[in-house]
Symmetry: C2
Subunit: 416 residues, 2 copies
């Protein structure tokens, strides 16, 4: 009998009615002959509410205390889901992270899973029980409760799927799958039947919030087939696997975008005085996430570095730079807020070197100014004015043929 790991996020268990619906979805899988491990998150906004309580007491609460506090959220859900399943006649057992044998490194707030001690869950699966596990949490060797940081429940699910050699890890969520772009803003966005791990990684990093990049990376390393699907309907979702069979000729698989980008530029009199490592290690120490970095050494004396950050890191960034101006040896700096990033993703780009040029042409043809550009093997990002973000995303979605069901390279790029 094959094993499914089914993960349900906070929005899938936010009310008693939704917990009952989740229980039904698990029963369906069980009745179809699968063994099931269910991994759940905290109900709806529980985590946010707990964080608010802590912040009433302290601006920067201790991370061990926060792990202790937040891990209660999933523990409530596993209990309630177990009660719901038993009420429907299903044999269950619920486990916290530590009971489930999720062993993590000794870091609070953002621990990585280092091992899964399988004995308990294996015993319970052998008794034909649905095993319900609290996502997002684990325990250190010393018996300290840890949490896994953002996307932690996804990571728990994939780790369990790897440990127990599940046939598939279902990520059940409030959208029916992974889309070519955000359907709230891109009218013609459509659900993808499949994407590769790498494409999903880029999409996830670019803000497609259905799945956390850490979990995708984990799944890629262990070759766990993932499926992002609806927690409410029994329809196929999007399969994430190594070889994308259905749509392998698609060069661009998705268009992602995010707002609230700020560009920072720093100027030196001479490139001899530049010290990139110092800047970025200082910013990292202040938890500023730097995204795109552009540095072009020229033969001119005066040189510069530009990088993009999220708007809410701006104050911290300016302060760090200003305080360390002498040490970093720069002459002046400037910043530009109100920007946005638009990206195209697709593993087909690797074998199609002209894609970047096509993207820039499309953007240019639509009279949108690009402020910064960054490329990876399967992703190209352009920073544009925020008020042109959706226009850029729409024209790229259309031009790279994502609005149509089947697209082959070169067939459907239309002048806009």
């Amino acid at each position: 009998m094959d094993l499914l790991v089914m993960k349900f996020g906070g929005s899938s268990v936010s009310t008693i009615a939704k917990i009952n619906r989740t229980a039904e979805k698990i029963m369906d899988a069980k009745n179809n002959g699968h063994r099931v491990i269910a991994v759940v998150s905290a109900m709806g906004k529980t985590t946010d509410q707990l964080v608010s309580l802590a912040n009433e007491l302290s601006e920067s609460p201790n991370k061990r205390d926060m792990d202790m506090l937040l891990s209660t959220g999933e523990q409530v859900t596993i209990s309630l889901l177990s009660i719901a399943l038993r009420e429907k006649g299903c044999k269950t057992v619920s486990y916290t992270g530590w009971q489930a044998g999720i062993l993590t490194e000794n870091i609070h707030g953002n621990a990585r899973i280092i091992d899964v001690r399988k004995q308990k869950i294996a015993e319970q699966l052998a008794l034909d029980k649905v095993v319900i596990v609290a996502g997002f949490q684990g325990m250190t060797e010393d018996g300290e409760i840890t949490t896994l940081g953002r996307g932690g429940s996804d990571t728990t699910a994939v780790a369990l799927a790897a440990a127990f050699k599940a046939s598939k890890c279902l990520i059940c969520t409030d959208v029916p799958g992974v889309f070519t772009s955000d359907p709230r803003y891109i009218e013609k966005a459509r659900k993808l039947d499949s994407v590769s791990y790498d494409e999903m990684l880029e999409l996830a990093n670019l803000g497609a919030s259905v799945l956390h990049p850490r979990a995708v990376e984990f799944a890629k390393n262990y070759l766990i087939p993932l499926e992002v699907c609806s927690s409410m309907e029994n329809i196929p979702g999007t399969l994430i696997e190594e070889e994308v069979s259905m749509e392998k000729n698609l060069v661009v698989r998705g268009v992602a975008f995010e707002e609230d980008i700020t560009r920072i530029s720093v100027f030196w009199k001479s490139h001899k005085s530049m010290n990139l490592a110092s800047i970025f290690s200082m910013l990292a120490a202040h938890h500023v996430n730097v995204d795109i970095i552009i540095q072009s050494l020229t033969n001119h004396d005066r040189t510069n570095l530009s990088f993009s950050i999220k708007n809410n890191d701006l104050k911290e960034t300016l302060q760090v730079l200003e305080e360390n101006k002498a040490l970093l040896g720069f002459e002046e700096m400037e910043f530009e807020t109100g920007l946005a990033k638009v990206s195209i993703v697709g593993s087909g780009m690797i074998s199609n070197p002209g894609v970047a040029a096509e993207m820039f042409q499309i953007i240019d043809r639509n009279h949108i100014q690009m402020k910064m550009v960054s490329t990876s093997e399967i992703k190209i990002s352009a920073v544009v004015e925020a008020n042109e973000m959706l226009k850029a995303a729409n024209v790229l979605h259309e031009a790279f043929g994502l609005s149509n069901k089947i697209y082959e390279k070169g067939l459907s790029i239309q002048p806009s």
Copy 2:
């Protein structure tokens, strides 16, 4: 440096402001040179809210699931209290029941503590930290989360006080101590400086809700001095210890009362057919709590048994009796609702055999009818009409001199 165990109930940690006040009270103890283990309950009505959620899913949720669910309540409190204390500059560590080494028997919903594994807490106390422990919960040898049932946090506190040989176990609550009677109804009720374990046991069993009888029994067995005191003010509370030094001449220490009592009477044609053990084991199997039992064998053929139960057990009791009428061999039964129990408690009664007679005289003199009477070595209870309960309690409180600060046997019984 001596060790204090300080227990704070749900009402002492029901809001962020109260958690801060609780943190201050702990800091005071620390600054006065004590080491401190703090034991806390779930915030305010949290447990009730979690029970409601479970009941939306199932009328009779599984007890293991309920333990998993309810134990999150105290875990939230320990985290928040730790955050509050750290914010005030205090070194802390918070532990769930299982982390604190509270080992229980393998029963869900009402487990007893069988051992305290001391290593972790001992290490942290040696580091001069305030150790914060989730009350009401523990773990079995197999790593199952259990809860201790009603009064569980009191029991956790006393168990830790015993294990770590604390100089005192403070039960910090929303009243300033143990009173001679309920001050909400008995105007002249006053706070006792001290009571003995046995007196507190009787008072607790009779509904003085400040302290659970299980915890008192535990404290008595290990001779742990208990003090019931206010969680808000720094004033002495009521000391509970083996030898009551301050008021040892007080014959009656308190007047307790409770409503919602029903009398059940069962009649047999002949006492030969009576089988008391069967009746009470049947009722126990249906979780009916029987309080006072009166059975008087006479030489007459027809005989009867009366016992008192809580009103909300009436339906169940009548059903059990009716269904087993043939087996139990009784002829008929009757019941009377709308009754109440008034009790006087005091260890001085042991050496003063006339106290029961005095009590009955006082009640009689006030034209109150007694329906049932029950005595123990240090307690006398009378069942009266519910509408005469407060009158009876007041006249007993006055007549046995509890309204005055110092009372010596025989001095202040006044005709009413």
